[in-house]
């Protein structure tokens, strides 16, 4: 299974991110603790800010750094990466602030006033007082805060996957999308084990300080540094250039990424994968060169990136997207893969027969008595607004799910209609009926192979990908998707990609 082979690489990447974020957190919060312990106003502002940061969900904090870094990048004339390591580092570093700061201030202000008076009385300068008296006395409390911060940081680092930094979260997110619970468990167990080891080593240092055992302090410190260095070592070795293949967060994208990877590898490229990227983020990642190639859908680019509201003929639309991508962003369009993965509204087959539902117009009649289930982004997308307004759709309620659970929800009756994907194998498997769009409210969603500006004029690269263009029919894609999404006899995305590859070669 591909997930297992990536474990060492992802673990190392996870360790580096967590260590760097913790180091950043320490570098900011330790001096701030000292200042805050000496000044009540600073303490109030700093602790208030750190607490506020903590109330933001880690996932949202990571996502928020993306527009912030983009804005900074455009202010300084580019060059600031908005995806990958930097936003992950900043978000997790911020997250590490509160426990260290809170314990730092508590540790310093908790020192017996008589001890402070004695330190002044014997003639210590404020630097000597900090070094000889305050730091050693506050150290056990501060270390407890650092332990908390380390455990939080290692846990939250799994979320860096969503902004394109590889971590153990890659296993969790990929496993969640393909319902590969062994993969999810592997990611969780690895992250938990890492947190436990880091906590134990920091605990060793904490007890060493508390009971004045220098060897323990140094042992714990040496093991932590050694572990981080071991994670860093492979990065320092000279590396061959690697192609980064991006994928969004659903099975079809995982399979296509592997399919692209197979073709590039057989053309002699070394590849790696950035999976689980959000729709809004992935195109920017391509423009920035953080990923080299991925598959997007015509309608998504048309509405989200080009902000178009008209729905032209699919062929003209793809041509316009190709020109726009090259002109505005330098992005290369290799071509359309051949199938379409459109947003569609689907209902249970039995309901369709009973209520006579064939089109969205039919649905509009009964929608007020129905609950709509959607994926996490559909309700925010312009396509939903277009469909809703074109057909005056008013549902009794709407609920958002990750795609896997959305299909479970319609099966169980928790929802009555869903925002399905036309290439999804589960539509046929679950006997769902896709409702027609006679008013053409939803644009076409031809799957398009896009390459980064650096690769746009790379003939060898394009030649390696060309054989995919126009070769993947919707039936083949549905079958491949279903082989990953079904509950029994599941294939991994790698296996599904191999199967698909065999069908199209």
């Amino acid at each position: 299974m591909s997930g297992w082979s990536r474990l060492p690489e992802l673990l190392a990447s996870h360790v580096l991110l967590a260590a760097a974020a913790l180091a950043l957190g320490l570098a900011v919060s330790l001096p701030l603790s000292i200042w805050a312990a000496r000044n009540r106003h600073v303490a109030r502002v700093a602790l208030g800010f750190a607490s506020l940061v903590q109330t933001i969900p880690a996932l949202a904090l990571l996502a928020l750094f993306y527009p912030v870094l983009l804005a900074i990048s455009s202010l300084v004339g580019g060059g600031v990466p908005a995806l990958g390591f930097l936003p992950s580092l900043l978000a997790l570093g911020l997250y590490a602030l509160l426990p260290i700061l809170r314990n730092g201030v508590a540790g310093l202000t908790g020192i017996d006033p008589a001890v402070r008076e004695a330190a002044d009385g014997v003639g210590m300068t404020s630097g000597q007082k900090l070094r000889i008296v305050e730091a050693p006395l506050a150290a056990p409390v501060v270390m407890a805060g650092i332990r908390t911060a380390a455990v939080w940081t290692i846990g939250a680092a799994t979320l860096s996957t969503t902004v394109g930094y590889p971590s153990l979260g890659d296993l969790i997110f990929a496993g969640l999308q393909t319902q590969d619970w062994a993969l999810v468990t592997t990611g969780c167990v690895a992250a938990a084990a890492l947190a436990l080891v880091a906590d134990a080593l920091l605990g060793l240092i904490e007890r060493g300080i508390r009971f004045r055992r220098r060897t323990r302090v140094w042992l714990g410190f040496a093991l932590l540094v050694g572990g981080t260095a071991a994670a860093l070592a492979p990065k320092l070795l000279p590396q061959q250039p690697v192609v980064t293949i991006g994928a969004k967060n659903f099975s079809e994208q995982y399979i296509l990424a592997r399919l692209i990877g197979r073709h590039l590898e057989s053309a002699g490229y070394r590849v790696r994968y950035r999976e689980g990227l959000g729709s809004a983020v992935i195109f920017r990642a391509l423009v920035a060169g953080d990923i080299d190639v991925y598959v997007d859908y015509a309608g998504t680019l048309w509405t989200n990136e080009m902000k178009r509201r008209d729905v032209p003929d699919p062929k003209r639309m793809v041509a316009q997207i190709g020109r726009w991508a090259g002109r505005e962003h330098g992005v290369g369009l290799i071509g359309a893969l051949g199938f379409e993965n459109a947003y569609a509204i689907a209902v249970r087959g039995a309901d369709a027969r009973r209520l006579g539902l064939a089109t969205l117009d039919d649905l509009a009649r009964v929608a007020p008595r129905m609950v709509l289930g959607s994926d996490l982004e559909f309700l925010e997308r312009p396509e939903w607004a277009a469909v809703r307004d074109a057909y005056s759709l008013r549902f009794a309620a709407t609920r958002a799910y990750s795609p896997t659970f959305m299909y479970r929800a319609i099966e169980s009756g928790a929802v009555d209609a869903i925002s399905a994907f036309s290439s999804d194998g589960r539509i046929a498997a679950q006997r769902l009926v896709v409702l027609a769009d006679p008013r053409h409210a939803i644009p076409s969603y031809d799957a398009l192979l896009l390459v980064s500006p650096d690769r746009a004029h790379d003939a060898r690269f394009a030649a390696a990908l060309k054989p995919l263009v126009g070769r993947i029919g919707v039936e083949a894609m549905r079958a491949a998707n279903y082989s990953v999404d079904r509950d029994r006899d599941k294939r991994s995305p790698d296996q599904a990609a191999a199967w698909l590859d065999a069908r199209i070669r």
Binding site: D112, P113, A114, V115, R116, E117, A118, A119, D120, G121, V122, G123, M124, T125, Q128, I132, V133, P136, L137, R212
Partner: protein, 249 residues
């Protein structure tokens, strides 16, 4: 020489004057007790000498030089400071606590710790112990040793034995008085206990509401020659002694 001279010193905290225009001279090698009820300003006056308190106006001279002209840390390192809450560094051994002044100056401790332990009447075995392994009296002996370690000739003591039980307190007071004599120290000791002041000091200054209201030798005070406030304070232990005598009779 380690004479101290207060010249018109004044310190207010908010609206109240803790020390109100005090002038007086403490002779070198004398043992002066500063007596008064709590809030009379005696601790504030004491701490002006090592600049833990900076006067709003007036100045303090040490051996004729204004203490404000010297770096406060250097000043404090040559003045011994002992106070009620002791303030031993809990993470340092007794020996490290005693040698802290030398460490700050970058001087070697050599045999100084053993010498000082002996001086304050503690066994050498205490050197390696942690402060929390000692009794209160032993801890304050370490506090005195720490204050003496850099070779201080001036000792500022703020209720030094106030937290100790009466037996320990008496023993430590007498031991310190002997040390004062032997080392030729100048000592200014703040206490609210007139009996302690009379028994230990050469001279007693009585403070009330930030001013010196009585000044004299113990004999002067006992004879009522140091003013009415002093007399009132002296009457307390005297009356107690009388009652004790009657009880025993």
């Amino acid at each position: 020489m380690s004479g101290v001279e207060f010249q018109h010193v004044r310190k207010t905290f908010g609206a109240t004057a803790a020390v109100d225009n005090v002038s007086c001279t403490v002779a070198s090698r004398s043992f002066v007790a500063l007596v008064g009820s709590s809030g009379s300003g005696k601790s504030t006056l004491l701490k002006m000498v090592n600049r833990l308190v900076v006067p709003d106006s007036g100045r303090v001279l040490l051996d004729g030089a204004d203490v404000a002209d010297e770096d406060p840390h250097a000043l404090r390192r040559r003045i011994g400071y002992v106070f009620q809450n002791i303030g031993l560094f809990p993470h340092l051994t007794v020996a490290e606590n005693i040698a802290i002044g030398l460490r700050l100056e970058g001087k070697p401790a050599d045999g100084r710790v053993a010498e000082l332990l002996d001086l304050v009447g503690l066994p050498i075995a205490c050197a390696g112990r942690m402060p929390d392994q000692l009794s209160g009296g032993q801890q304050q002996r370490v506090g005195v040793a720490r204050a003496l370690a850099p070779g201080s000739k001036l000792m500022l003591m703020d209720e030094p034995f106030g937290a100790l039980d009466p037996v320990t307190r008496d023993a430590l007071g007498c031991a310190y008085r002997a040390l004062h004599q032997r080392l030729g120290l100048t000592t200014i000791m703040v206490t609210h206990d007139m009996a302690e002041a009379l028994l230990l000091a050469d001279r007693v200054l009585v403070m009330a509401a930030g001013r010196i209201v009585g000044d004299g030798t113990p004999a002067d005070l006992l004879a009522g020659r140091a003013g009415p406030e002093a007399a009132a304070l002296v009457d307390v232990p005297r009356a107690q002694a009388e009652r004790l005598k009657e009880l025993g009779a």
